[in-house]
């Protein structure tokens, strides 16, 4: 995976978000205090927010280039997103949520078999349940599977374990490790937890007030 953010600038309420970075490791953590710009970075990558200037390229494909007036629509970016609360569609069943974004990558390289994703995340017994009947950990697993089944080139995870208790965190983290090792999907993982980052990520970018102030491997930084 090669993700390049070049001279990304975006004025925020209390500081200007400025990032220029290239990411090549499979799972990279975004670490930093609340309000440091981690979610903003995910939103910019997903195309939900437009930077004032800069460019974004993933695996040689330009998604945003303000100088050229290019902004690939969110739906065509093939970037999966798992927010903190899962943001599942409450009016659909688990199956409905999972199939909502099912699609094949135009290049066919990131399409994951449904059965494999269901197996890795242990979701087969939940398929006919309503969203209201799921526990917090189950919701996060469904949100993760939903994003994976949309054939993402890159998966963005915004503190997916933050709202879970310790036991559920441990279980969902094990599922995330299986996603990393068996499905091999590139991930950007936002977290406040050094334990989660050390258990899951190959590299860490530390953000503060919209800038990357340090980067390295988890064992070097924590």
């Amino acid at each position: 995976m090669r993700l390049a953010l070049r001279n990304i600038r975006l004025p925020l309420a209390h500081f200007e978000f400025q990032v220029d970075v290239e990411v090549t490791r499979q799972v990279t953590a975004l670490f930093g205090p609340s309000g440091s710009g981690k979610t903003t970075l995910l939103d910019v990558l997903a195309g939900l927010r437009r930077p004032a200037s800069g460019s974004i390229e993933i695996e040689g494909r330009t998604l945003t280039d303000t100088a050229a007036g290019l902004h690939v629509p969110v739906r065509d970016r093939h970037i999966g997103y798992v927010p903190q609360d899962g943001a599942l569609f409450p009016h659909l069943s688990v199956r409905g949520n999972l199939l909502y974004g099912r699609r094949r990558d135009p290049e066919g390289i990131h399409t994951l078999p449904v059965e494999h994703v269901l197996d890795v995340l242990d979701l087969a017994p939940l398929l006919d349940r309503g969203i209201g009947a799921l526990s917090g950990g189950e919701k996060q697993r469904v949100a993760l599977a939903r994003a994976l089944l949309s054939s993402p080139r890159l998966l963005l995870l915004d503190e997916p374990l933050a709202a879970l208790d310790d036991e559920l965190k441990r279980r969902v983290l094990a599922h995330l490790q299986r996603v990393r090792d068996e499905l091999r999907v590139p991930m950007l993982y936002v977290s406040h937890s050094t334990g989660e980052v050390a258990a899951l990520c190959h590299e860490v970018l530390i953000l503060d007030r919209g800038r990357i102030v340090a980067r390295g491997e988890p064992q070097d930084l924590f």
Partner: protein, 222 residues
Amino acid sequence: MTAGDWQVVGFTIRVAALATLLILPPGLLVAWCLARLHWPGKSVVETLVALPLVMPPVATGLILLKAVGRRGPIGRLLGELGIDVVFTWRAVVLAMAVMSFPLLVRTARVAFEGVPVRLEQMARTLGAGEVRLFFTVTLPLASRGVLGGLLLSFARALGEFGATILVAGNIPGRTTTLSLAIYQLVQLGRDDQAYRLMAFTVVIAFATVWWSEWFLRRARRP
């Protein structure tokens, strides 16, 4: 109830239902635009949409009469197509539609604003275009509010009087609605018949507004 009374009741329900159905697509479109888009002059559109709520219905009727009358800009065009509006059932539908439009737009707008933007953003990351997103996420999640607004609009259409009498007249068997019939019966001193129709109107209006409030209460629940 005489056969004539039932004819008036049946006619009123049919034209009110048709008017409500006709305003549904443009009403939802305007409500969605007001809830989700920002553009210069938006407040002018908001004000124009609300005008029939506060203007004297007779004044609205006069505007309609000028617009769709045989010498009016729209009436002339329709006349060339062989369609007469003024003093026909079409004029009743038009008056009801115009007078109930703001109620639908206001309630549907609130319902759309209550749909979490994050869910719509997630649908886009899953590949949904704007039309699919509207019909599979926004509208289903706003459906209770929209149904409540639709019923309120229907109730408003049932009771429409001022605009209708100007643009459609009060032609027995052709344009006489419940409100017009009650007015005419009182004028003629046939109070017993007027009370019967009034009682019927109260029952329909009560049932419709009660049902509408039921939907709106459920829409407000998380």
